[in-house]
Symmetry: D2
Subunit: 434 residues, 4 copies
């Protein structure tokens, strides 16, 4: 690793950027980054300037020798990078509106990380990420790529299958679980050990130890707390969770409470529009704030944006690789036999020891039988959808959608697919080769 | 194996019995059964007498030295048996009506071999079969038990996990596939090789060879033919089936065309009642025929009953074990690593070589990715449901139902479960221990 | 498969040829071969003519419409072949003398199928077989290649790893086991079921059933009978074999009685020379007989040659593929998970069901713990030696030899390797690229 | 874990004890042990007193509030222990003399941790350890047992298979590797990452990273350094080690240089007697020193004893469990799928993350093919020998010895076994039940 640490943030015009800048400032001592390059595309130039200038003011205020650069030239930015992060959205929030709206017309959950919406996002995103990886292979082959872009598990699996880039997928929900438990037991997160089993946005917590003492059973009777801003708050069925013997991620409500969440989505659509539209309004307010030339720190309002802790996760991981700390983090990496009912090249979300040569996944102590079925059902969909995204094979796209657990019929899948393909045609060149 | 071959048919009063008797008569030369004992319970005595007397007339007409005995004493019947078959229905067709009707109230497919109805049937049936197995362990420990009782895969898995009885689960649908192909290509079934992958009522045909020549691709474009009387006839989506690269069993329509089948079930419920009620009428007509003292052969009408070829499957298997023929049959047996993403003790439906010491499952050439997800999703449900059936643990029952792919919500699962448990209480002592 | 069945025998000038010709004649009804092409190289032309003329006389006597052709043009011979067999010896018996003699100088067993001698034979043979396979891929890509050439397991593994040819390795020792048991119990071999576990020349019999009845235990106390002409006759230690719980192949004496066999080899070397020299004298006598123009059948003396039943194995397998008989034969095929501690692409010796599309290996009921260790120790050597044979990497050759269970030291391995490499240099071009 | 940390040292009269006492003193801040109980048997009472009094003087000098107690009452000692270590030798050094001497008579390596000598030591030791475990299960079920007693891998596997005690096997050789590399590169051991693959006394180092940079290749050309006092110093064959692609443990010389080590053993036997006799003289000198009432620290001479770093390993592991440090240590634990060609319940030596709830083994990046064969060959022997040790089945003992890679013949195995069994009869009650 070079002495002159360089981090490239692709999608640097994102509203999240102040958070990662704050992370670099707060962790400078153990992770002395010297150069941060924020990269964006032409359509994002305005936002890049606003957020980039805020970043520069934040660094200036800190007095640290960190250079912040803004650019539209991705290839130039990548030269000799040590770490690259991606936080981009192909088609912007406008595309997300369709991801969330169209499925609802067919009585199916509309969500940007799973189901029909998640699949379309994967179709738009994976080719772009593979292009970025080609540049990385050429310009900074030793760099680590941290992928935040959703569906993070699928995108990371595509990268690991189709490129040589050293890539890790990152999600904020494991950190959220630790924050929840840390608050609950009033102890630092590092005194807690959680075992996560599953996929990105599809995990179960199967162990909680505090100083080696098992807390799982008492937590199975405490069903609030581990939740997220962007997932509706329904209470878990107590008997069900106790019988499961593991704490389900809040994302699992899409699968375990499909009927209720669908009803709520339809209600909210009426009341406030899609989640994309809500986020759009929030982002507009944030950029309003960011423009204030007197602002030189991350504004509090950012925490309501839904993706809290993402940057914390990224800086934490950079620090551990840089310092060979060998601490345990929950990451999206290749399965390699950890979940023995999944292919070796599947991307899973699992505890890893982070060394200077990357994360080593830890074996899991046990996997609930109920979880296995859903994990493989979703992973089968993911594998076929990734292949469809890479090849542009429409039959595979239909197959993937038809076998997704949230989709009730091959025929409905076909109708939805037709409409979504048409709507996103601009961002799906692989499916529309003449 | 004793020289004096003895077969015990538990549930001998069933309308299917004439078929198995016909099988014994037609195969006497290679499988010289000397004693057939038809066993039933007190409630079934009338039917037992009717069908038993028909069986006696059939044998008499054949002139073969086969003894047919009728009894209500199961333990006496089992002494020194070589083969035992079970074709029983705990709670009779009346219970099946509830299996099919109650789920529909909650917008869920009502079916006696999968989904909520199948689970309740498993709960009623498994304890009875385990009791029969205790008798077999004591009275005829070397006997082979062929289980036809649905859900046949789950019942067989329960037997293999909880007893020492040598048991095989049998289904007529693989034979039906061969009959279909035999008709299509106008060649004997033995000139065709099909590879089946999956579970009982959840299989895919992944290879079809005629004299070593691959016919799969042409069959993927031919989507009629492999169907069944008791499953609605919807056409498969052509693009989907081609993309799958395997021929789905007609039972897979419950999963791939859930919406359409649910709509049809609701329509039929209105028009003709549940399938159980249709079958009830058919059976009444059959028993009317069976009473005719001039009838001494299997009446043609039996073929419309839905379970054609069951007895053919049973006699075929008995013959192969008795003669060590080492031919290939598609049976429900322990996985033992054949499907590497399933537990070793799961019951699967797979090609086996039948030797005198039983069936040896054959490795499969490949498993469609799409199939893996659904197989493990259903098997996870099955495993938990079997444990619930054996232990009477209501939390497990709820968990099993909630994770079944056809059930859209934990809360709906709870409501359905409450109603079904109450309705079938009489046949579910394990869940109602004081 | 073409109507005009054509079989090509590479190494057709071998003294074994009359046996395979006899097989074709005896099995003509079920396997109507029309064309047999005996191929050899220039150095073997004289033997080819002698044995080829005998073959022609045999066919003529039979009155069957089989054409026998003799040729030195391998490529011409292969055109449109249905089956190809190889029974060749690169370097002839002269090379085998060194395989058997040199190791003895270093206190190591000298044997042409395992140990240092077997490795050198693999080095000479594998490149030649891969060349033959290139021709098959081009000239008769649908043909089946049956490989008899020792070390048959290693050669077959090399072919399956490095070519697309449909190949099966064949050995006479499983047939020999059936012959032994058939004689012992005075019943036809087809009434016996043996389970073989292991590798070529390294198998254990773990099940013996006669009409479904277990005979293993009584056989563990009967330690003569299953033996071979070319392996010294030492009695097994009774307590050891009983504790193993499986019948070891006679080839296992090289590993279990290394000291004794080494002593005997040294003694015999003194008394009668190497086995190669004994065989050389036997072959000379056979060819003397073959020249007799009045001879038109396989002479009895051939049975003493050591490779009895090889041709029986080959014709039996051709018949089963041609007729899709689906009977069980013990063959050398890809592991594909059958022995779960070996790589999927390792070649193993195992029971297979033979269909028209080839052999499907059968899962094994259990593997003795003791066998596992030796199987993987030998397979590790085989894998590295195959890679050395293909790449000509001398480091790999040394590594393979050093880890062979019969070799007591890396340093001794190096000395032996140096001497053997020099001796066989002419046949090892891959190791002597300038 | 109790506040009042209590450690019980079984075999406390060992000459190693001053080392562990020194460890407790040096690490008191992070591992505040309050009570150390040294337990021994009646025959060891004199040594216990000598070494125990030295321990007391060492603690007194440190001024720390650690109580040292000496006792012959093992059960009393174990009550409420937090950690238990075992460093005992059933039959004392006198038995070891036979382990080393008898095999040499049969031309086989005589060694106390592998081969015939190691097997006999396992037979004497395993029943005693299982007895200790019974006491632990009853008196301090939450305690961790650290087993140093050789053959440590086999003893630990026996404990993990046959008891519920939380046990870890410890060896000093991984620490020795780190010390060697730390000296070589002049950096602290914690800046180095080594990956160990294999079993106790049978490992390969497959990765060496310094700050994430691969050093393996340069180390494969540097063949001195990683060695031990008690294993003869032969140079590795350079071509062989480079081809292996991994650094073999010095214990592997018994397998890779069998001939040379056997010759040296025979020479040394003549010159200075067995290693046991050498150690005996060393120990006598040590105890002479220990008696000196003015000595209140670990004497330098102890480092020449051969087992350096054992106590360092133990204190290091206690500290990590107590403090949940989650650092990486190389330990002997259950395989659980890490080495996929070994049974799940085999004990392996592997990198682990040490948490407050114990070690979690880390997946290995790759396993040299050559290593797999030897690992499974030795593990097969170990498994059968453990079963023999527990059951007292002589057939299994013979089988285990006969398949050990160092033993050249079943018949020789039988002769050695007879002699060794007779010699050690007193300590092998399980084999001599009337």
């Amino acid at each position: 690793m070079s002495k002159h640490l360089k981090v490239v943030v692709i999608g640097g015009g994102s509203s999240y950027t102040p958070e990662i800048i704050e992370g670099f400032i707060q962790n400078y001592e153990s992770f002395p980054v010297r150069e941060v390059v924020l990269v964006d595309i032409l359509e994002g130039q305005k936002k890049l300037n606003i957020v980039g200038n805020l970043a520069k003011r934040m660094v200036e205020k800190s007095g640290l020798p960190i250079q912040v650069q803004l650019t539209l030239d991705r290839r130039e930015a990548l030269v000799e990078a040590d770490f690259v992060t991606t936080q981009l959205r192909v088609g912007l929030l406008k595309a997300r509106i369709y991801d969330e709206k169209i499925p609802l017309k067919y009585g199916v959950i509309g969500q940007e990380t799973t189901g029909p919406g998640g699949m379309m996002k994967a179709f738009r995103t994976i080719p772009v990420l593979l292009d970025i990886c080609k540049d990385i292979e050429e310009l900074c082959p030793d760099a680590w790529l941290f992928n935040f872009t959703n569906p993070a598990g699928m995108v990371t699996e595509a990268i690991l299958k189709h490129t040589k880039v050293k890539s890790v997928g990152l999600c904020n929900s494991p950190i959220a679980a630790y924050k929840w438990l840390s608050g609950l037991y009033q102890i630092p997160a590092r005194d807690i050990y959680c075992e996560f089993v599953g996929l990105n946005h599809l995990h179960w917590i199967t162990q909680v130890k505090v100083h080696g003492v098992d807390k799982l059973e008492e937590l199975l009777n405490n069903r609030d707390g581990y939740s997220a801003k962007n997932v509706p708050q329904f209470e878990w069925n107590a008997e069900f969770v106790r019988s499961l013997g593991a704490i389900p991620s809040y994302y699992l409500k899409y699968f375990y409470l499909t009927k209720e969440l669908l009803e709520e989505q339809l209600l909210l659509l009426d009341q406030e529009g899609t989640r994309a539209e809500v986020v759009k309004r929030l982002e507009d307010e944030l950029f309003e704030l960011y423009q204030d030339p007197n602002l030189s720190e991350k504004p509090k309002q950012l925490e309501q944006r839904g993706g809290a802790y993402y940057s914390e996760a990224a800086v934490h991981l950079m620090k551990s690789i840089y310092n060979d700390t060998r601490d345990i983090q929950t990451l999206n990496v290749q399965n390699q036999g950890i979940l023995d009912f999944l292919p070796a090249d599947a991307c899973i979300e699992v505890n890893c020891v982070v060394t200077s040569h990357g994360p080593i996944p830890l074996p899991v102590s046990h996997i609930p039988t109920a979880a296995k079925g859903l994990i493989l059902a979703v992973k089968s969909y993911e594998q076929i959808a990734i292949e469809a995204a890479v090849t542009g094979d429409r039959g595979l796209a239909l197959q993937a959608l038809a076998i997704h657990p949230l989709v009730p019929s091959v025929n409905e899948a076909e109708h939805m697919l037709n409409e979504m393909m048409q709507q996103h045609q601009l961002y799906l060149p692989q499916f529309f080769k003449s």
